[in-house]
């Protein structure tokens, strides 16, 4: 094959490596021209920096090329299907980017006098209205930085509510299928985590749940639809039971995309739920953030929602930053991930309530379609219908010598980002496939054909290729053990990796 031919440069057409910026240094070069230094006295004296920082010098054309070349080594939603379960990788509208950058929106300083920020405060108030209406909840705390901080905010409100009643409790019930952030959050809030097992149909084991209830249970953390992609049929009963012992119901809202506009969490008896604006409401994932995780609260927990909050008084909007009371304290600097609020509100305005309902329906339709078209080769871990994502075990690969990870890596060679693998932990070799509503039937058919083809190749005994895959990417499989055993976490001049790894 001509692909194997070595080139002089090492590049393969459009595919080329890129050195670190630090390896492209030309001292004195810069990509920025600065204004003149004003004539004024120095006020730092002997505390001026004495040593060089070590940053490289590059001019603007080099910097542009550097980052454009890096960008070409990434997969992206804008490039193709990104069926990463529980991450809701949907299309990110560019209108939202434009609006977040409007002068008077993107550049407003958080500490300006409030008389000069009425527009951004009204925008926050509008978004809060959408969030409480869509969820049927009493109020919303806008500030949490992302989902995990939203969970922390919600669980702290639960603990504050118990303490206000003079009965701090010890245990939080968390299904064993939960995201890792759930138990980590409960621990930060000072709770013991008590795991609830799942039933054979992928839902909370009601008998085990009831058996664990007691006066020391502060609450329940449950994802709904759950991490197996299923709606918890008994959710209203679950809420009644947890309320019956004086506990609160925290819902991980990571999977809200399946029910937005169709079901209001408030109608299910939920007391607190975070909403990942970067999932359901399309704010870009940006290679791992920034996210935004507002938390909606029921009447019972509303008094504990953290500040700041926006209120309307006599026709003016006011940012309340201080107030006495039992509230959870400040979650982060300033007033929340405002830039993400702009994008999320633009998404909501574009879809409207009718479009959002269609979002949930198409997301669920697409996932069920994938399930239906794969089930003879890759049977679902639990019987359907599923919600916005379908969970498959590795049973379809039995006897092939090929594991879930190998199938995922072969998908990369086929031009797809793999699904989420090995999560949730309760299913062997789990593959969690979330196509989202912004994919066409044709895209799904193409993906289904590839998945079927790969499973058939696996069954035909092509294990050797699968273990090698991916073979057509900028890098082949990377040695994670080497990375962890002797961590190299920064560039250091003149120390080759071979020496550092000794």
């Amino acid at each position: 094959m001509s692909r194997e031919r070595e080139t002089i440069s090492g590049a393969r057409g459009l595919d080329r490596d890129e050195a670190l910026s630090f390896e492209q240094d030309s001292p004195g070069r810069s990509g920025v021209d600065l204004p003149p230094v004003p004539d004024a006295p120095d006020r730092l004296g002997d505390l001026r920096r004495k040593d060089a920082i070590g940053l490289p010098g590059l001019a603007e054309p080099q910097v542009v090329r550097h980052f454009v070349r890096l960008s070409r080594m990434n997969y992206a939603i804008d490039y193709g299907l990104y069926p990463l379960g529980s991450c809701t990788m949907k299309h990110n509208p560019r209108l939202n980017e434009r609006l977040a950058r409007l002068p008077g929106i993107g550049d407003v300083h958080p500490m300006q006098p409030q008389s000069t920020t009425q527009g951004v405060l009204r925008l926050m108030s509008e978004l809060a209205h959408w969030l409480t209406e869509l969820t049927g909840m009493a109020t919303v705390a806008m500030t949490p930085g992302a989902g995990a901080q939203g969970e922390m905010c919600g669980m702290m409100a639960i603990r504050a509510a118990h303490e206000a009643r003079g009965e701090p409790r010890k245990r939080v019930l968390v299904p064993e299928s939960a995201h890792g952030t759930n138990p980590a959050t409960a621990a930060i809030c000072g709770y013991e985590v008590d795991s609830i097992p799942s039933t054979a149909d992928g839902r909370v084991d009601m008998a085990a749940f009831e058996a664990k209830l007691g006066p020391d249970v502060a609450g329940l953390m449950l994802t709904n639809p759950n991490t197996c992609g299923l709606f918890e049929r008994d959710i209203i009963r679950i809420a009644e039971l947890i309320h019956g012992i004086g506990g609160y119901f925290y819902c991980d809202g990571a999977n809200f995309n399946a029910i937005v506009g169709k079901v209001r969490p408030g109608d299910l008896g939920i007391d607190a739920m975070h909403i990942n604006l970067h999932k359901t409401f399309s704010t870009p994932h940006g290679g791992g953030g920034p996210g935004s995780g507002p938390v909606v609260f029921s009447e019972a927990l509303a008094p504990y929602a953290p500040l700041p909050k926006v209120i309307e008084r006599n026709g003016a909007f006011e940012l309340v930053e201080q107030e006495d009371g039992p509230r959870v304290g400040r979650m982060k600097g300033f007033h929340g991930q405002f830039g993400m609020f702009v994008r999320a509100l633009a998404y909501m305005q574009s879809h409207g309530r009718d479009g959002l309902k269609q979002v949930a329906e198409d997301a669920v339709l697409n996932a069920n379609y994938v399930m239906a078209k794969l089930q003879d080769l890759l049977p679902p871990a639990f019987p359907g219908p599923c919600m916005h994502e379908v969970l498959v075990s590795d049973k379809g690969l039995d006897g092939t010598g090929i594991e879930t990870m190998d199938l995922a890596k072969a998908l990369i060679d086929e031009g797809y980002h793999p699904m989420t693998v090995y999560f949730p932990l309760i299913v062997h070799g789990a593959m969690l496939i979330e196509p989202t509503e912004t994919e066409t039937r044709q895209t799904l058919d193409d993906f289904i054909a590839v998945m079927r083809g790969l499973v058939e190749q696996a069954k035909a005994g092509e294990a050797e290729y699968f273990k090698e895959a991916p073979t057509m990417t900028p890098r082949r499989r990377l040695d994670e053990t080497l990375a962890a055993r002797k961590p190299v976490l920064r560039w250091v001049p003149d120390v080759p990796l071979a020496d550092a790894a000794e």
């Binding site: 980017e97 008077g104 993107g106 951004v120 930085g145 992302a146 290679g287 920034p290 300033f334």
Partner: protein, 448 residues
């Protein structure tokens, strides 16, 4: 709906392939009483032009620092962002990718995170840095928790001149832990007896440098006092451009450095998203929170990058993780990384010098006014003034004249009557001599 590609025909064919009659058959697990509850208070979908008009309405109601001289700092700074930064971060492959869980098709993200970590370590003068946190305040709170993990001690001492948002965020994170915070009073100048408060129960001391009133200090003696008792020194930096010009915290003996990176490449955006920087000594790396990109080799022996030391993180360790956070500030870290790469060594030191001298000029001009006293002796680009009258109405009066004249200390420290007349003023490279003239003239007008 422009974002939803399925046609009615597609939907019908897909339902048929699935073997159900209607879409609500797929929602059969939802109790029927709660399915399809009408949401009357919200509007229906709108086209792009209508949505754009709606947002123009919000934009018009704010005074933009692009159209008003801006002297506001207090933890967020109005800097120029090169066009290249905003263009590059909107490349689809950066903007619309996820956390690099599949490293073979995420080398772009992983390599810039590795470069970002290197830049942060160099600027702070530390050994290693992580791949970012939500912001400076949350980074600082996580640093305190980390110090407790390392020292297994009970108490932390928080300087009274730490930005109140950082202090409050730390109080929130520690509220339900067994750890105590000893918070000092916000007194301008002096070290406030921090050294004497350190004892064998102290896990860490947290100071901001320059502090919230702008004062820049030599922390070497404080670091020694911490280390003599086995405590860690955590230094928070809210204006990261200062690191281009000042002795970095690492050179003063800091054990953990946290910073707000917004000043380099990230828009103000009414306070978020910004980007938290987190750096520490090599020996503490396994106690760090957050994601880390590390160098390794691929199956062909080529250099590449992966997320590493995952055994610290929630998706592996669950309730025993070093932090509960998952998403960080990837795209803001990229903006920071691009801006720092554009600046380079010469650019960042030059940018810092322009900031410093502009603020120095501003201080000279303002203190020439009657009744205005400079309270900060050694500063970078922000300082505190006693203006001889309550600062808040002065700031409002300046805003009415189209000038963003600073932050009244009373907004940060409500209930501190001694700070009522204190105004925090900052000047970045965006401030011109004409802007300074306008502020000085306006200050005279509003004081008349």
């Amino acid at each position: 709906m422009r974002y939803l590609p399925q046609t009615p025909d597609d939907r019908a064919a897909m339902l048929s392939a699935i073997g159900v009659a209607s879409i609500d058959d797929l929602f059969s697990d939802v109790p029927s009483a709660v399915l399809n509850a009408p949401i009357d208070s919200l509007p229906d979908h709108q086209g792009e032009m209508a949505v754009e008009r709606y947002f123009q309405g919000f934009a018009r109601q704010n005074l933009s620092p692009a159209s008003a001289p801006c002297f506001i700092g207090a933890g967020a700074y109005h800097h120029h962002i090169p066009a290249t930064v905003d263009h590059l971060i909107q490349r689809s492959e950066f903007l619309t990718s996820y956390t690099p869980y599949q490293p073979e098709i995420s080398q772009g993200t992983l390599q810039y995170l590795f470069e970002f970590q290197t830049q942060v370590a160099m600027l702070t003068g530390m050994d290693v840095a992580n791949a970012s946190m939500y912001d400076g305040a949350t980074a600082t709170s996580e640093a305190v928790l980390m110090a407790h993990r390392i020292t297994k001690r009970k108490k932390s001492i928080i300087s009274g001149r730490l930005h109140p948002h950082y202090r409050e965020t730390t109080e929130t994170l520690l509220r339900f832990t067994p750890y105590d915070l000893e918070v000092r009073d916000p007194v301008i100048g002096g070290q406030g007896g921090l050294e004497e408060a350190i004892d064998k129960d102290t896990a860490c001391v947290v100071v901001q440098n320059p502090d919230v009133f702008g004062e820049f200090k030599d922390l070497t003696a404080l670091a020694e006092a911490c280390h003599a008792q086995g405590a860690l020194l955590i230094v928070a930096v809210t204006e990261v451009v200062s690191l281009g010009l000042v002795t970095p915290p690492g050179a003063m003996g800091a054990d953990i450095v946290t910073a707000e990176g917004q000043s380099l490449g990230v828009p103000l955006s009414f306070g978020g998203p910004h980007v938290g920087l987190f750096a520490c000594r090599q020996k503490y790396v396994r106690q760090m929170p957050g994601r880390l990109a590390g160098e390794t080799l691929d199956a062909d022996g080529k250099r590449g990058y992966v997320l590493t030391l995952n055994a610290r993180e929630q998706h592996i360790r669950r309730e025993k993780a070093t932090s509960n956070i998952c998403t960080n500030a990837g795209l803001c870290a990229l903006a920071f990384c691009i801006h720092v790469t554009l600046l380079g060594e010469a650019g960042i030191t030059g940018l810092a010098e322009v900031n410093h001298r502009t603020a120095s000029l501003l201080a000279d001009r303002l203190t020439a006014l009657p009744d205005v006293k400079l309270l900060t002796r050694r500063f970078f680009n922000e300082f505190a003034l006693d203006i001889g009258r309550p600062a808040e109405p002065v700031v409002e009066a300046l805003a009415a004249l189209g000038i963003l004249g600073g932050v009244p200390a009373s907004r940060l420290f409500p209930g501190e009557p001694s700070l009522e007349n204190v105004l925090l003023v900052a000047a970045t490279e965006t401030v011109t001599v004409a802007d300074i003239d306008r502020l000085v003239t306006a200050m005279q007008e509003v004081s008349a």
